[in-house]
């Protein structure tokens, strides 16, 4: 694509001045492709940018390379079979997706999970949130040349993913929640292990903070770059850290507390400028707040069952399946026909790592969902990418793209 934009300006140049003539050399716009397989494109997204020199004149993102048909597949699975698909939406914080989906289904069923399950969901969800933010910041550092930040971030994330795998049996494909509770209780000594590893995670976060937040090079590359105001961010559908970086106080955990977030003491960090640096800074602060929630949640973790006793919705315990006819029947119905979720529709929303994670579930009373629609937080944020990068230099594209933390799995379903 070549567009000439020289002729109109040439007449204004003083033809006697050779330097002025040189500054007005004829030039044309150049279109280049970033991605789909570009190391800084997090997953696969193609960005066609039209450059005027080194300035981005126009950008068109093209998505869908990772489209797996999540919603269509969900309609042909039982309610519980959808759960593994939700892991793959945001594969960095899968438990938040598990919890978000199951809470939407529970809203439709009108059941509530027992207190121990609620606390464990909060604790594991906050661990996942820290993992997500650490991944974002680690990749952010890496792509700006700060390899140490990447190593620190990944070390902390590995510590947490070890805890997740002790809890659920898998690092990222957790599928840990069930309607009315959880698949498994925390193993003995798990809370102590989490408490042991959290100081190291916070220490590494402090190191990253010290390396980046007041680093001259980092500030020069992020401060004042990709600025978006609060009202405009809302208009574009921003939620989560990207919205809060613009100064809008909207966190689902505070605005509409679910599970036991109303019993937790934590703050919602807000940015002031809405630039790339604020989006990074809000994530660093949220890691610390999440650590507070984990500490409080583990201290208050009540004893008791992790799944309800109502076998219409919840899976019967294995002991009952093997020793009683009612247990066998309930188990059989769950796995052969699926849970009979009452007819109706509900929108369940939770605070995912990147913003409001909503699941719109519709049931016609059968064992399979009639419709599952995911409101992926990254989808509207990515749609604003051209707005954020246009007018900036090519080199600014990478920090801006890192700071919105686009996750291919959820954006492209």
């Amino acid at each position: 694509m070549t567009e000439s934009r020289v002729d109109s300006r040439q007449s204004t140049v003083d033809s006697q001045d050779p330097f002025a003539r040189e500054a007005e050399l004829p030039h044309s716009l150049v279109t280049i492709n970033l991605g789909p397989s570009h190391p800084a494109m997090h997953g696969v997204v193609r960005l066609t940018v039209t450059l005027d020199g080194e300035t981005i004149a126009r950008a068109v993102p093209e998505i869908g390379f990772l489209h797996r048909g999540f919603e269509k597949s969900s309609e042909n699975s039982t309610w519980h079979q959808v759960l593994p698909y939700t892991d793959r939406l945001n594969y960095v914080s899968p438990i938040l997706n598990n919890v978000g989906y199951i809470m939407a289904v529970e809203k439709l069923c009108g059941v509530k999970d027992p207190p121990r399950s609620q606390y464990l969901r909060v604790v594991a969800g906050e661990i996942s949130r820290i993992c997500d933010h650490l991944t974002c910041i680690a990749a952010f550092g890496l792509e700006l040349g700060a390899f140490t930040v990447f190593l620190y971030g990944v070390e902390a994330r590995e510590l947490l993913w070890d805890r997740i795998s002790e809890l659920t049996g898998a690092r990222v494909t957790t599928s840990w929640t069930r309607i009315g509770g959880l698949a498994s209780d925390a193993p003995p000594g798990w809370a102590e292990k989490v408490n042991e590893c959290m100081p190291r995670v916070l220490e590494l976060t402090d190191e990253i903070d010290a390396l980046l937040t007041r680093n001259r090079i980092f500030i020069d590359r992020t401060r004042g770059i990709g600025v978006i105001g609060g009202d405009e961010a809302l208009d574009w559908g921003f939620t989560g850290p990207c919205l809060r970086a613009s100064g809008v106080n909207y966190d689902v955990r505070k605005a509409h507390p679910y599970l036991v977030y109303d019993k937790m003491d934590f703050e919602v960090p807000l940015g002031q400028r809405g630039d790339t640096h604020d989006r990074y800074w809000v994530r660093i602060q949220e890691i610390r707040q999440s650590a507070r929630i984990i500490e409080q949640g583990l201290a208050a973790l009540p004893p008791g069952p992790v799944i309800i006793d109502d076998w219409r919705y919840a899976l019967p315990p294995k002991k009952e399946v093997y020793s009683s006819i009612e247990g066998v029947m309930a188990h059989f119905k769950h796995f052969m026909e699926g849970v009979k979720v009452p007819r109706g529709e509900a929108y369940g929303y939770t605070e995912g790592a990147n913003g409001e994670l909503g699941f719109h579930v519709i049931s016609n009373g059968q064992g399979k969902p009639y419709r599952v629609h995911v409101r992926a937080p990254g989808f509207p944020i990515l749609s604003a990418l051209p707005r954020l990068i246009e007018g900036h230099m090519v080199a600014d594209l990478i920090p801006i793209f890192d700071s919105i933390n686009m996750i291919g799995g959820e954006v492209e379903q």
Partner: protein, 218 residues
Amino acid sequence: MAQALIDLVRGKFPDAVLSSASEKGDESIAVRREALVDVCRFLKDEAEMKLMSDLCPVDMLTFGQEMTGGGSLASQEATPYALERKPQVEPRYRLLYNLYSVTKKQRLRLVIELRSDDAKVPSVTSVWRTADWWERYAYDLMGIEFTGHPDLRRILLYPEFVGHPLRKDYPVQKRQPLVPEHDFPDLIRGPGPGPGGAGLPMSQTHVGRQNVDPTTYD
């Protein structure tokens, strides 16, 4: 809480609101299609519904079927016989606009019902910028047409895709036709009308300069 909001909309647009409902804590109002943009603008400006959270298109084709599961008509077990005798449900499509007010902490679902022979709805991109991609998503996967949308094309699927997969009569295991190879006229600068003109198909060329007329390459 949200009842006051529904009354407000009813008072302002007495003819446009068809019905309102409250289900499991979610408030919803169904509005007439013609009034959609006006109602949306009113909700954004007067009721501070600054965030259009999402847009969920639903196909109601098999909703009433018993003992079938949600997607049975489109599932792999569906026989051609069942597909031929597909039920007619009107209005077939529902569009659910999920609106949220950060200041008032209110959520409202706006429902538009569409008949299958006239699946068109005015675009609300002039009200919320974020509607742009959500409407492209609904167009791509459900085949709803948004009149007045600035750039209505597929977003997740590729342009040659046939059909709209979230419709209930789209079989899950349907195969798509193979897409013929595109010509890449300018391999150095990527796809698009480049200076090289129409070149050879990619399989017949080396990726390199020889594909481009050197005189036009600056």
